[in-house]
Amino acid sequence: MHDVNAGRAAETFVPLTASAVLVNPVGLHARPSVKLTQCAKGFSAKIEFALALDGPWTDAKSPVKVMRVKAPQGATLHFRVTGPDGEAALAAVLALVHDGFGEA
């Protein structure tokens, strides 16, 4: 199940980073967590986020781990993305956060 190329690929790609503020009213809760992980899973890049630049980093493809972060509204999410489609992945997750996960 583990992609043997993933580790090698990760080595050859420079991690991309960017941050965004959570604007949706109740933070990174159930529905946004699902949306974020679904979006992240659409890319082969390794996508992680943290509430601080020095981590701890959380796998954005795991809803269980994303929920454990309990990120509230107003929190800054720092993303770290590594992989061949890293740029598109980063743009996609940032768009999702900026858009408030489609919640008013």
Partner: protein
């Protein structure tokens, strides 16, 4: 037996009367098979069975309810959830024990959260835990809840709630629970009155047979006296009549109590927001945000893609006016490859119309698509973040050029009226100087620029108040300019949906408000009370 009054927290409004059903945690013990490998297989099978059960439920529901169940499926499908359980099983613990401990640990992490919303997710985790345990035990679903009953207990799981029939009335009275729980959201969407946090419901072996649930005040009366029951039934009848009137009013035009007509428009972010909506509930669309076109796809959308989307919205509106805002990127809405990165203060930087004028090759594509769409309905085009009249002038010149060029090529097109969004205080103060076809007040940005306070910075969020006299004065000034110039003024920010501000906004001179579809019925009801 005398009646018992208990007070908790209201979680879903409304009144309900019914016989009591007491929920009990009924998870039996199971005999472990013993072998860790077999136990792991049993747990995996139970998790898969639970996912299949929930997936079956998803097929029968929509919207918010489906989201809640999809969250449960996403959690169950994530290997991280059962990791601890599998570790314990390989150390010799029975599958049910291992699963329960792992989930209880996860749940306690949620219960210690600072945010009530996250604490409330504990109920979803408990629901997941119990469903998998039931599958491990090979047991069927929990006890059937008869429609019209008052369900009491410590807490109720979303799937238990969904297993009951709420169309025949009934309500929920819980010892624990939370107004932020998924069950509370479900109860509100199904119209089932619910009170939580009643404290210990110990009946010492004699549970009451009947209860009155008041989801408006958060009180529950068990085994009411005949007189209490009669008064409650009287209130229920009056409330039902009022609710029926409000629901019927959604499709009716809005009038204040002194019979002034108020136009209620919709704010939408994409054509999908209109799915299932009857255009009769509104007087048109006051704001179509076009950023989604630029965010969803990679690369910038071409003219035909934009045209098709704009046309779909105009078709839906059936001739009602539709105001489409040109790209409002920058500030809090960066778009890769378009907005400027690393501006020291993006809210005061190259955003909205400023960016469009700086990137005419992109702006002109949007203007062409809008001119072509304009033949399909009453289209109006709105420019965001305008600060000075020359910005409107330059945009109007470009719109005119694109229209003329399309026409010269024999392409069906029309030149839509061009208006400005009033969200920079400078535009509000000098509103009369703009040769605009209409004004639309963007109260979110107008408030943050006037008060110099962002709403997503908690420490200053209280200053970000659209009801502040300074903000209302700018709104009033814009309305005055509109009156003198004989053009429409509307407001399309969040302030329009805040019914505490409705009286103040109408007093400032507004006669057109634009809100998200979900706020229409509530806004119309609030308008009907103004001036009474």
């Amino acid at each position: 037996m005398s009646e018992i009054h208990l007070t908790g927290r209201p979680a879903s409004p409304g009144l309900a009367i019914g016989p009591i059903i007491v929920l009990t945690a009924a998870v039996e013990n199971r005999t472990a098979i013993g072998d860790p490998a077999q136990e792991a297989i049993a747990l995996q099978a139970a998790i898969e069975a639970a996912i299949a059960e929930i997936a079956k439920m998803i097929a029968t529901v929509q919207g918010e309810v489906a989201d809640i169940l999809e969250f449960q499926v996403a959690m169950l499908e994530d290997e991280a959830l059962a990791e601890g359980a599998y570790d314990a099983i390989s150390a010799g613990v029975a599958a049910d024990h291992a699963w329960r401990s792992a989930l209880d640990a996860e749940i306690s992490g949620y219960r210690t959260g600072e945010d009530e919303y996250f604490r409330a997710r504990a109920a979803d985790l408990a629901d997941i835990r119990d469903r998998v345990l039931a599958c491990l035990n090979g047991g069927g679903a929990a006890a059937e809840i008869t429609g019209g009953s008052i369900v009491t207990g410590d807490d109720i799981s979303p799937t238990t709630f969904l297993g009951a029939d709420w169309t025949r009335g009934g309500g929920i009275a819980l010892a624990a629970g939370s107004p932020s729980s998924h069950v509370a959201m479900l109860a509100r969407s199904r119209g089932a009155p619910m009170v939580v946090g009643l404290g210990s419901l110990s009946w010492s072996g004699h549970p009451p047979s009947m209860a009155l649930v008041d989801g408006d005040t958060g009180t529950v009366i068990f085994d009411p006296e005949p007189e209490t029951l009669r008064l409650f039934e009287h209130r229920m009848a009056a409330a039902n009549a009022a609710r029926a009137a409000a629901a019927a009013g959604r499709a009716e035009p809005a009038y204040t109590a002194d019979r002034r007509p108020i136009a209620v428009l919709l704010n939408i972010a994409a054509p999908e927001d209109l799915a299932g909506l009857d255009p009769a509930i509104c007087d048109g669309i006051g704001l179509v945000r076009t950023e989604f076109l630029f965010e969803a796809s990679r690369g910038l959308p071409d003219e035909d893609t934009q045209y098709e989307v704009y046309r779909r919205i105009l078709d839906w509106a059936e001739g009602r006016p539709v105001t489409i805002r040109t790209l409002d990127a920058g500030g809090d809405k960066p778009i890769k490859g378009l907005t400027v990165e690393d501006e020291s203060n993006p809210f005061l930087g190259l955003r909205g119309i400023r960016l469009s004028l700086a990137r005419p090759e992109i702006f002109r594509v949007q203007l062409r698509a809008l001119c072509r769409a304009a033949v399909h309905g009453a289209l109006k085009v709105m420019l965001p973040m305008v600060a000075v009249p020359s910005e409107l002038g330059r945009a109007a010149a470009m719109l005119g050029e694109e229209f003329t060029a399309l026409k010269a090529k024999g392409i069906a097109c029309a030149c839509p009226p061009l208006g400005i969004m009033v969200e920079v205080p400078a535009a509000a103060l000098c509103a009369e100087d703009f040769d605009t076809a209409f004004y639309s007040i963007g109260s979110n940005d107008l408030t943050q620029y006037t008060m110099a306070a962002a709403r997503d910075i908690g420490a200053v969020a209280d200053l970000n108040d659209a009801g502040n006299p300074a903000v209302l004065a700018l709104i009033s000034r814009t309305c005055e300019a509109g009156r003198r110039r004989g053009v429409e003024v509307s407001l399309c920010g969040d302030a329009a949906a805040d019914t505490r501000l409705t009286t103040a906004l109408l007093a400032a001179g507004l006669t057109t408000l634009s809100v998200s579809p979900i706020a229409v019925a509530r806004l119309k009801a609030a308008i009907a009370k103004v001036g009474s």
